[in-house]
């Protein structure tokens, strides 16, 4: 066998192997989605949106409590995490730049991004839940916000840096003060990217269970009290899924389906915005 023949065979093997791997990975994805859709759609009904949780065996039971709780928790986390993440990203890109401090913050943020989320839950438990003496929506939202911040910080930093320096200079050359340059020119130029970062950040925390287990905990009933334990789709799903009751398990599938669609939707919209922004 000549060297060329050998190379051609190796090439073909590598191509076949990587195609096969891709197919297997995609097959799992569609398998998961398929099972979710089949089981989830089956379990869906209007009751889910009308009724809150009830003991097993009752016909009038739903997920309203968990759906609303989930929205409150994620919404509150967004309100806390997005401004902090964007401001920190702005600091890095527009003020810190290549300074030691900026690089340190970037490194720490990257480490935080890969920190196990349950550790962040434990941290919030120690500094908020324990001193307050009880679980609360606030604690859950703060745990989620802490997970969200590095994602948004990073994308904001990256997206702002993509805005050409000459645009900033052109605004300064017209006599714009720095904060005006950032708000009018840099944010405007990067708004699609920032929005994508925000959506991906929300999607990132939307499916979190571990950090909520010992912060917002769970509740089987509808509540909007931020100082009390608050139900979430993820923890509710976890509880229902491991329960021995058939109707609870059904609700668990419905919760899984709704949650997946929500997060899938956020991811798709986020990517579409980025694509549309790039095409311009």
């Amino acid at each position: 066998m000549t060297a060329t023949q050998k190379r051609i065979i190796i090439n073909k093997l590598a191509l076949a192997f990587s195609t096969l791997s891709a197919v297997i990975a995609l097959a799992f994805l569609f398998w998961i989605l398929g099972v979710l859709v089949m089981k989830g759609v089956d379990a869906l009904s209007w009751n889910i949106f009308i009724f809150e949780g009830s003991p097993p065996g009752y016909a009038e039971s739903g997920l309203k409590h968990a759906l609303v709780g989930q929205l409150i928790l994620v919404g509150l986390a967004t309100l806390i995490g997005v401004p902090l993440g964007i401001m920190a990203g702005t600091y890095l890109s527009e003020y810190g730049k290549n300074s030691k401090l900026a690089h340190t913050i970037r490194d720490i943020s990257d480490i935080m991004m890969s920190a196990p989320s349950i550790v962040i839950g434990a941290f919030v438990y120690a500094v908020i839940v324990m001193p307050m003496g009880h679980f609360s929506a606030w604690a859950g939202a703060i745990a989620l916000a802490i997970i969200m911040i590095p994602v948004i910080l990073r994308t904001t930093d990256d997206m702002l840096q993509l805005v050409p320096g000459t645009l900033r200079e052109a605004a300064f050359a017209l006599g714009a003060p720095k904060y005006k340059v950032i708000i009018d020119i840099v944010y405007r130029g990067a708004k699609a990217g920032i929005l994508t970062g925000v959506l991906l950040g929300i999607a990132r925390v939307g499916g979190e269970t571990a950090p909520l287990l010992f912060t917002s905990f769970n509740d089987n009933f509808f509540t909007t009290d931020l100082n009390e334990a608050m139900p979430s789709l993820t923890v509710t799903m976890f509880n229902y899924a491991i329960s021995p009751y058939d109707d609870w398990q059904q609700l668990g599938w419905a919760a899984a389906f709704i949650l997946s669609m929500f997060i899938l939707g956020l991811n798709i919209v986020g990517r579409l915005i980025l694509l549309a922004g790039k095409r311009k």
Binding site: T166, F172, A173, L174, G175, A176, K180
Partner: protein, 261 residues
């Protein structure tokens, strides 16, 4: 020895013994530059790449201050004061001395908002005044006819030459005294280049212009005075025709005859 013409007319700017050193650079990029800039005329800066043309131009609106650690020494006199003074109000200075960059820098907003941007920074909110001045600036920049029916459109939809004229409109809308151009046509086609050159000549009625160019024909076409720079020195400053026909310095002679550069 440098040969610097003594300008009899009124001067817009006076550079005296000016040294500029970039942060961390071992030696200054501009050395003892002394240069009068005549009012209501066009002064061209020519010279081989890296000789300091951009560096000098960006000193006039203190653009170098955006990056910490750069050092100015000497004096640049403008409206009776030394603008290198650390107490100089840079925001005010930059409304008086505008700048056009090599690549067009249309902001990500509408054509109208681009032109109105500088005026809005100055606190002008009155709708009629804004409308009038935006129209006037666009007319003066020879762009009005092409964009009058789509002022609300995104400025990034314009062609490169149109965007460059938009940047000129944006700069003149705030009625500066001086306009700085850094190779404003190097990214443009010949027709757009012609348009910009015509504009530069027209604008000198109202503003004093300094233009950096790599194109000696362009310098000859648009400027009244030309300065030749070499390795951070201003070698010669003279009337444009004189400098190109009978240069006083050997280096200038060699450069304009294409011996180097």
């Amino acid at each position: 020895m440098a040969s610097i013409i003594d300008i009899k007319e009124e001067c817009a700017l006076q550079v005296r013994n000016f040294d500029f050193t970039y942060k961390g650079a071992p030696a200054p990029s501009l050395k003892k530059v002394t240069m009068p800039i005549a009012k209501n005329s066009v002064t061209a800066l020519i010279g081989p790449s890296g000789c300091g043309k951009t560096t000098l131009l960006r000193s006039f609106n203190r653009m170098h201050d955006l990056y910490p650690g750069n050092k100015y020494e000497g004096e640049i006199e403008f409206e009776g004061r030394n603008i290198l003074d650390p107490k100089e109000d840079l925001i005010h200075l930059r409304t008086k001395i505008g700048m056009i960059f090599q690549k067009p820098t249309a902001f990500p907003m509408s054509i109208f908002d681009n032109v109105a941007y500088g005026m809005r920074l100055q606190g002008i909110k009155n709708k009629t005044e804004l409308n009038d001045r935006v129209e006037k600036a666009l007319q003066d920049a020879a762009l009005w006819k092409e964009v009058s029916d789509r002022l609300k459109n995104d400025a990034n939809g314009l062609s490169g030459g149109q965007q460059q004229r938009l940047c000129i409109a944006r700069a003149i809308a705030v009625e500066p005294e001086v306009l700085l151009f850094d190779e404003p046509t190097s990214a443009l086609d010949p027709i757009s280049t012609q348009g910009i050159e015509k504009l530069v000549i027209e604008l000198k009625e109202r503003v004093s212009i300094i233009i950096v160019t790599h194109n000696m024909q362009q310098a000859a076409r648009v400027s009244d005075y030309t300065g030749f720079m070499y390795l951070g020195d201003l070698i010669e400053l003279g009337h444009t025709e004189e400098l190109f026909v009978t240069p006083k310095e050997k280096l200038t002679q060699e450069y304009i005859t294409g011996k180097f550069g």
